[in-house]
């Protein structure tokens, strides 16, 4: 590119036309502008990456001193050890339990109930959202007439724009009472309630990715199926859906990642009791809700503060792995399908 400019200038000089001079000047200017814009875009891309990287460094810097800090004299009881992060607390007058109670004479930072709580709420969310979203995607891409599809798709995608605090409020005030009356539950706020509300937040993600996966299945598949005498239902259930299963799976994985990190809904709808059990109609306290509820008032640099950042790392690592594997899966699937059409 560098050689082109002097060359053009030489030709322009040789012809000696004033008009060409102007053209050259203008093109030189536009090239400069192009460079600047190019540099700007390049820079902003790197700034975005740098910011994400710095966030990661920051979270790590706040949490990791847990590993090598020796407790201050007199505060040994507050020291956080691996055993206290995952092992049960023993009492003289009741059975041992996994306890999250960071404000206490002997603070208890057990992560087990929080991890269990997060999984419970998330599993309910995915079990609720995945069938609905996938069936809706199949209907929308294979069976719905064009005009109906134009309504269904944007409407479901609009659900993604619903603020999670609104979903949480709905679950807290309305859904919780319905579920309690319907199932005769002891606890109004529980994993089921929070999970269903979370599911509403996850449906658009699973729907969109599944719909894309279904429409990405080449039309030649469908045509071949019809040519062999299959009807619409047989084509959808035996040809198109199996071809799109990996994409749907990726959608479910991405939805799972969103549900793990979602905070406001579970903070409002889950009851926030750190119980370790697999009963789905008991209250749960999730990792994200714990950070949201407690980070506002912890003493800077205290063990409690560091443990909350450790929870942040856990969440970050978890969603990172889940989202990455989901993305990779989608990409591989696309390559495979496109490769086949070309061949």
């Amino acid at each position: 590119m560098a050689g082109v400019l002097p060359e053009a200038a030489r030709i322009a000089r040789a012809t000696g036309a004033a008009r060409s001079e102007r053209v050259i000047a203008r093109s030189r200017l536009s090239r400069l502008a192009e460079r600047i814009v190019e540099g700007g875009v390049f820079l902003s891309a790197w700034i975005a990456i740098l910011v994400i990287f710095l966030i990661f460094v920051f979270i790590g810097r706040e949490a990791l001193p847990l590993l090598w800090d020796t407790p201050q004299p007199g505060l040994e009881a507050e020291a956080v050890t691996l055993d206290r992060l995952v092992g049960p607390t023993y009492y003289s007058d009741r059975p041992p339990a996994y306890v999250w109670q960071p404000v206490s004479t002997v603070p208890k930072y057990n992560l087990v109930p929080l991890v269990v709580g997060t999984l419970k709420a998330t599993v309910v969310a995915v079990l609720f959202a995945a069938p609905l979203a996938i069936l809706a995607a199949i209907f929308s891409s294979e069976f719905a007439p064009r005009w109906l599809r134009e309504i269904i798709k944007p409407t479901i995608e609009l659900l993604a724009g619903l603020p999670s605090v609104v979903l949480g409020f709905f679950a807290l005030m309305v859904l919780a009472s319905w579920l309690q009356d319907l199932l005769g539950l002891t606890f109004r706020l529980n994993a089921l309630n929070a999970g269903i509300a979370l599911g509403l937040a996850v449906i658009p993600i699973i729907f969109t990715v599944s719909e894309d996966a279904l429409t990405a299945v080449p039309n030649s598949y469908r045509e071949a199926s019809y040519a062999l005498g299959a009807n619409q239902w047989e084509t959808a259930s035996r040809i198109v859906v199996p071809a799109a299963v990996p994409g749907m799976f990726a959608g479910v994985v991405l939805g799972f990642g969103r549900a793990v990190g979602e905070t406001m809904v579970v903070l409002m709808a889950s009851g926030n009791a750190a119980i370790t059990s697999w009963n789905f109609v008991e209250p749960v306290r999730t990792l994200s809700a714990t950070i949201a509820a407690e980070l506002g008032e912890v003493v800077f640099g205290s063990p409690h503060y560091r443990v909350l950042f450790l929870i942040g790392i856990l969440l970050f690592a978890f969603t990172f792995v889940v989202n990455l594997s989901g993305e990779l899966y989608v990409r591989r699937l696309k390559e495979r399908l496109e490769g086949r059409t070309a061949g």
Partner: protein, 286 residues
Amino acid sequence: MIGREENYLMRYSMRTMALAAAILSLATTTSAGQLTIKGSDTMVILGQKWAEVYMQKTPATKIQVTGGGSGTGIAALINGTTDIAEASRPMKAEEIGQAESRQKRKVKEITVALDGLTVYVNKSSPVEALSLPQLRKIFTGQITNWKEIGGPDAPIVLYGRENNSGTYVFFKEHVLQNDDYSTRMQTMPGTASVVNAVVKDKNGIGYGGAAYAEGLKALKIRKDDLAPAVEGNMETVQSGRYGLSRGLYFYTFDGGSPELDQFVAWVLGPEGQQVVTDVGYFPVKK
């Protein structure tokens, strides 16, 4: 590590002090006084009412009241981001130490009202009174069915506060004797949410400030299993006969602005204490 921490804190506190000095000089140049009050959710309704009545009388002083919990207010006082911290528990010695070393001024404690911490149950519950030892067993999870304490055969559903709440800490110290809450206790973001939950839940039990007891039943409290059941009211709270009476505090620094001193004096005076009664708490004993 400890040294590094202190170094960081010192730099941090120097920066906040510079900022505070800047704000202070700004405040002294403007005629209208600004006061910020932050802290206990139990005291938010009280602080807001005080501010409202006081600002009508003294329009030159602007008062801003926010909640967040006693811990939040005390942290703000330590960090120098509020003039007054409202707290429903006494400040701990190490918190006072932190505040004084960071702000280089003496912390001042003022008891501005009394509260009978109330244990709420649903209106339909037949239970009228509980003793402190019974409450301890209920909230540590050793009593889990209402029939063990004279109610129907139904599970007890516990409601409490998040751990940044002064009420959470007070209840833990005075009722649980510093034992751990049951892991099954649902934690609510404010006293109003506890009340709301117990109103909706016929098996629910929760605790909170006396002023919030609307639409549910406030239990009488026995100090021990043989003691008489005492209702929380002005006389029993002021005399300390009620087992769960506690002080509500303002924390500020010595040498505050004249607006602050004037406001605190008014709060402790007859008009301020009348507001305490109106809101549903109990005036400081004269």
